[in-house]
C-alpha cells in the first residue's frame, strides 16, 4: 500500500479559475485510515469464520452434506407365500405404494390441498397428524396406502420443495389374504412392529417400521416367512430425485411355507359354519396334521395388511363375539357328552365297568342328597356301556364317575391331552382345565366334594377343553392310544414321535363301537351318517348354566347351550377326525352335519384321486386386490 502523497508543489500550482475544486483532502487522512482498519477487521472476521467452518469443522460439515445427499432406501423383501397342502396359494403379496408425510418439514396449511389431491377427508387427516404429535418428528405418518395411478401422478407433480416437499413415497409389498376371513385365524395377520414388541425378546432383532407377523402362522413362522430387507444407497438432489445409485444390497425374499391345511376341506368347513359362532377342527390322527381349522366369527386380515384403520380396529374390538379369538384353540368350554367316550374308556381300563355292567336309568339319580337329571326325561331303562354311549345316557356315567372318583377321571382326561396345550404351532393356545382334588386344593384351598364328580362325569362342572384338544384326544383314542402333536406346517422330514398310552385293544374297540353306534345305530349323532362310510362320533351339549365358573360371569344370551360334535372315519385306523363346536347351538346333533360335510369332502377328494378343481377355493380366495 504505497501512499501517494499530494505534492505540496502541485498544490501551489493549482489554477485560480478552479479555486473550489482543488481543496485540501488531508483533513480526512486519519478517518480514511480508520476505514482501512475497519476493512481489515471485516476481512479478518470473515477469514476466521471460513477457517472455523472449512478447516476446523470440515469433517462435521462433510457428514452433514453427505446426510443431505446420500439416502439409504430399504429394498423391502417380500414375505414368503403361504400354501396349502397341495401347493395352492393361500397368502400372496402384491406391490403397492403408500404415501408418507415427513413430519420434520410438515406445514399444516399444506394438509388441505394434499387431502384434496388424494381425495382424503381433511378432518380425518388433521386428526391423524394431531395424534402423532407426541411421537418423534423423524417418524413419518402413512396417510394413504394403495395409491392409485392418479394419486401417484399427483404426488410426483407436487413433491418438489416449492410445493409439498413433505410427501414421500414408499414402495411396499403388501400382504394379500383370502377374502371373507377364510382361515383368518390360522394365517393370522401382519402389522408394523409395536414399541412393546421391539422391547420383547421375541422380536428384539427387528427394527422400527418392520412389518412382522402379529398372529397365527404369520407370527409363529415370522422368521421363516420374513425375508431380509436389502438397501439401496443413492445420491439424491434437493428434490429427492435420484441422481446415481451408489450401492445396492439385494433383498433376500422370505421363504414360502406349506401348510397341512387342505383348502377344499377348509372351504367346506367355512361354508358349513355359515354365520354361526364356533369352530371346526379337522385333524389327521395318523400324524397330527391339521386339515382344516375354522373359527367364527372371523375378521378380514387384509384390513391389517399394513396398518389397520382405527375405525376397523374399533369395530373388531367392540364386537362382543370377539372375532380375533381363535375359538379352535382359545375357546375353553365344557365338553359335555363328548367327554363320555373318554369316561367309558377310563371305566373299562380301570375295571369299574365292563360289557356286563348294567345301570337302570329312570331319568335321573340322586347322589349325595342332590338329584341329577338324565337329559332324557323318561329315562333310558336298563343300559350297558355300549347303549350308554350310543344314547348318551347321563345316569350311567353318573354312576361310573361316582365309582371312579375325580382323580381317576382327571388322570384319564390328562392322558388324552386335556388340561395342557396340545403344542400346535400357533401362538396363544389355551390349555383348558381338568379339575381334580389337587387342583381344587391348590386353587381354592378346599376339599373336593364327591358331589362335584357327578357333573364332571358327563363333561360338565369345571372341566373345559378347546375344540383342538377334543379332536386330538378322540383321534388319539381312535388310533389306539397314539397322540401326535397337532401341527399346521407340512413336515417334510418325517413325523415326530407320538405320545403313546398302553391301552387294551378290546377297550378301545368297545369305545369306538359305541361311537359308531352314535352315528349308525340311531343314536344322538344320526345326522352325521354317511352311507358307505363308517363315520363314528359323539354329540355333546354343554350346559353353560350348570358350569359354576361361567355362571357368575355369563350373560343371559350366553346361557344357551353349546353344541359339540366330534366324529372320525373310518372306524378302524381313522384318517380324519373332525370337531365342530357352535356356541349357543342348543344341541349337539346340530353340529353333527358340519362334521359329516367335512368328512364327506375328505372322501370325495380321496376317491376322486385328483385334487378338487380350485373352483371352491377361488370362490373365497381369488387374487383380487383387497378393498381398502
Amino acid at each position: 500500500m504505497t501512499h501517494i502523497p499530494i505534492e505540496p508543489d502541485e498544490e501551489r500550482l493549482q489554477l485560480s479559475h478552479e479555486p473550489l475544486l482543488r481543496d485540501d483532502t488531508k483533513f480526512a487522512s486519519g478517518r480514511i485510515a480508520a476505514f482501512q482498519y475497519v476493512a481489515v477487521a471485516v476481512f479478518l472476521f470473515l477469514l476466521v469464520s471460513f477457517w472455523q467452518l472449512q478447516v476446523q469443522n470440515q469433517a462435521e460439515y462433510s457428514e452433514l452434506a453427505e446426510r443431505n445427499s446420500i439416502k439409504y432406501y430399504p429394498v423391502l423383501a417380500p414375505r414368503g407365500k403361504i400354501l396349502d397342502r397341495d401347493g395352492r396359494v393361500i397368502v400372496d403379496n402384491h406391490s403397492s405404494f403408500s404415501l408418507l408425510l415427513s413430519r420434520e418439514n410438515l406445514k399444516f396449511e399444506h394438509l388441505k390441498p394434499i387431502a384434496e389431491g388424494l381425495k382424503l377427508d381433511y378432518q380425518d387427516l388433521l386428526a391423524r397428524v394431531e395424534r402423532y404429535k407426541s411421537r418423534p418428528a423423524y417418524q413419518p405418518i402413512i396417510i394413504k396406502e394403495e395409491l392409485t395411478p392418479e394419486d401417484l401422478a399427483f404426488v410426483e407433480a407436487h413433491r418438489d420443495p416449492g410445493t409439498f416437499p413433505e410427501m414421500e413415497l414408499l414402495h411396499a409389498q403388501r400382504r394379500l389374504y383370502p377374502q371373507d376371513g377364510l382361515a383368518a385365524h390360522v394365517i393370522g395377520y401382519v402389522g408394523e412392529i409395536s414399541e412393546a414388541e421391539l422391547n420383547s425378546a421375541e422380536f428384539a432383532r427387528y427394527d422400527q417400521g418392520d412389518i412382522i407377523g402379529k398372529a397365527g402362522i404369520e407370527r409363529q413362522y415370522n422368521e421363516h416367512l420374513m425375508g431380509v430387507d436389502g438397501r439401496r444407497q443413492v445420491l439424491v438432489d434437493n428434490r429427492g430425485r435420484e441422481r446415481k445409485v451408489l450401492g445396492m444390497k439385494e433383498a433376500i425374499p422370505g421363504q414360502s411355507l406349506q401348510l397341512t391345511i387342505d383348502l377344499d376341506l377348509q372351504v367346506v368347513a367355512e361354508l358349513a359354519m355359515e354365520n354361526r359362532k364356533g369352530a371346526v377342527v379337522a385333524l389327521d390322527p395318523r400324524n397330527g396334521e391339521v386339515l382344516a381349522m375354522v373359527s367364527r366369527p372371523a375378521f378380514d386380515p387384509n384390513k391389517f395388511a399394513t396398518r389397520i384403520s382405527s375405525k376397523d380396529w374399533k369395530e373388531i374390538v367392540a364386537n362382543p363375539d370377539n372375532p380375533l379369538l381363535n375359538r379352535a384353540i382359545q375357546a375353553q368350554l365344557a365338553p359335555g357328552s363328548t367327554f363320555k367316550p373318554i369316561m367309558a374308556l377310563a371305566g373299562l381300563e380301570t375295571g369299574f365297568a365292563d360289557e356286563t355292567t348294567r345301570v337302570v336309568c329312570p331319568g335321573g339319580a340322586t347322589f349325595y342328597g342332590r338329584y341329577f337329571k338324565c337329559w332324557r326325561k323318561g329315562g333310558h331303562g336298563t343300559v350297558d356301556i355300549h347303549r350308554a354311549v350310543v344314547h348318551s345316557c347321563d345316569v350311567f356315567f353318573y354312576h361310573l364317575g361316582n365309582r371312579m372318583g375325580i382323580d381317576t377321571i382327571a388322570g384319564y382326561a390328562e392322558m388324552v391331552g386335556f388340561g395342557k396345550k396340545t403344542g400346535i404351532d400357533l401362538p396363544q393356545e389355551k390349555e383348558g382345565l381338568v379339575p381334580s382334588s389337587r387342583w381344587k386344593m391348590r386353587t381354592f384351598r378346599q376339599k373336593w366334594y364327591a358331589g362335584e364328580t357327578i357333573s364332571v362325569a358327563i363333561g360338565q362342572g369345571a372341566l373345559t377343553v378347546t375344540p383342538l384338544q377334543l379332536a386330538a384326544a378322540i383321534g388319539g383314542i381312535a388310533s389306539g392310544g397314539v397322540w401326535y402333536r397337532p401341527h399346521l406346517v407340512l413336515n417334510k422330514t418325517g413325523a415326530e414321535r407320538p405320545r403313546k398310552a398302553d391301552l387294551h385293544v378290546e377297550n378301545v374297540n368297545q369305545v369306538i363301537y359305541g361311537m359308531w353306534g352314535v352315528v349308525n345305530e340311531g343314536g344322538t349323532g344320526a345326522s352325521a351318517r354317511l352311507v358307505g362310510f363308517e363315520v363314528c362320533g359323539k354329540t355333546g351339549t354343554a350346559q353353560l348354566a350348570s358350569n359354576e365358573f361361567l355362571k357368575s360371569t355369563a350373560k343371559g344370551r350366553e346361557l344357551k347351550d353349546n353344541a359339540w360334535f366330534v366324529g372320525f372315519a373310518p372306524k378302524n385306523s381313522p384318517e380324519i377326525v373332525v370337531v365342530a363346536l357352535f356356541e349357543g347351538g342348543e344341541h349337539g346333533n346340530l353340529a353333527a352335519p358340519i362334521v359329516r360335510d367335512v368328512i364327506k369332502a375328505y372322501y370325495d377328494k380321496k376317491y376322486r384321486r385328483a385334487p378338487q378343481p380350485p373352483r371352491m377355493a377361488s370362490l373365497f380366495h381369488g387374487l383380487r386386490r383387497p378393498e381398502l
Partner: protein, 363 residues
Amino acid sequence: MANYRSIRDLDWVLLLVTVALSALGVLQIYSATLGTVWKDAWWKQCIYVALGLVAMWIVTQIDYHGYLGQVPVFYVLSIVSLIVTFFVGRQVFGSRRWIPLAGGFHFQTSEFVKLVIILLVARYLSELKRDQLESRDLLKLAALVGLPMVLVMRQPDLGTSLTYLPVLAGGIFLGGLRWQHMVAILVVVALLLPFAWFALKDYQKARLSTFVDPGRDPRGSGYQVIQSTIAVGQGGIWGRGVTKGSQTQLRFLPVPHTDFIFSSFAEEHGFVGVVVVLGLYFLLLMQIVQNAQAAPDKAGMYICMGVATLLLFHILVNVGMVVGRVPVTGIPLPLMSAGGSNTLSTFMMLGLVNNVRLRRFIS
C-alpha cells in the same frame, strides 16, 4: 476529452483485480448452473462484464465534476424511476424491482441509484465549508438519502436499500462527525429498532429470527443458512473441485449462482480459494482507498470512499451471510454474482474511481 495524461495512468491494479474477480465469478456461475435451467447464465455474465468494461470506460471519459453538477437531475430521475418501477415493475418473488427492457432483459433501478447516492453524498459534503457537520447538514443529507431508501424498501427490497446507508454513514464520518451527534444517532437508532421490527415483512422477521437460531426452522427460512454453511464447511482446505461440490450440484444450496455464489465457490475451491478471493477483494478496496487518498479534491475523495464503503458493506453482508454470521438479506456479491444490473453498476462505480484517479494531476 482526453484531458488526462495517458492510458498508463489508469489504475491497472484495480482493473486487473476486477477482471480476475469477474472471471472467477463467471467460472463459478458456469459450475453452479451446470445442467440447470440457468445453464446459459455464465455467458450472459460474460456479456455483462464486457458491457461493464465499456460502461466503466465511458464513465471514466467525462470529468467527475460534470456528474457532480448534474446530481439534482440524477436525483430527481432516480426518484421518478423508482416510483415508475413500483408501478410497471416485474414482480419476482413477491417484490417489484425490475423494469422490463427490450430483449428480455430487466433493469434494476435500485442498483443504479447507488451511483446517484454516492455522487449526492460527495457533492453535498464537499460543498460544506466547515470542518465538522452541523445538525442541519446531517438532517438534510439524511433526508435526501432516506427518500430513495424508503422507496426501495417499499418494493420491498430491504437488502439493496440498506446498501445506501453505509454510503451516508461513511460520508458523514469522513465529513466530520461530532461525538454528540454520534451519540444522538445511536440513541435514535436504538429507539427506532423496535419500530423497525414491526415495519418488517414476515419473511424478513423470519430471516432475522433464524439468523439468531437457524435450527429453529431447518426446512423453512433457516434452510438457506444451514445449507450454505454446510457447503462452505464441506469445502475444506482444498475444496471439492469445479463442478464437484455436492451441495451446489445437487441444488441443496439455494441460488448458488447469485446471492450464494460465494458459498458455492467456497465449497468447490475450499479455504485456499476463499483466501485468494477475499485477498483480491481486499486489494481492490485498498486500491480504491489509495485513490481516495490521492484524490485531487474533497469531492473525489468522497466518491472513492463512497464506492469503497459500499463495496465493503456488500462483501461483509453477502459473505457474512454465506457463513451464517450475518442475517440473510439477499444482496449480491459485487463482480461475482450473476446479474446484469449489479455487474454494470459495480463497473460504473469503479469507473468513477478511475475517473477520480485520472484527474489527480490535472491543473
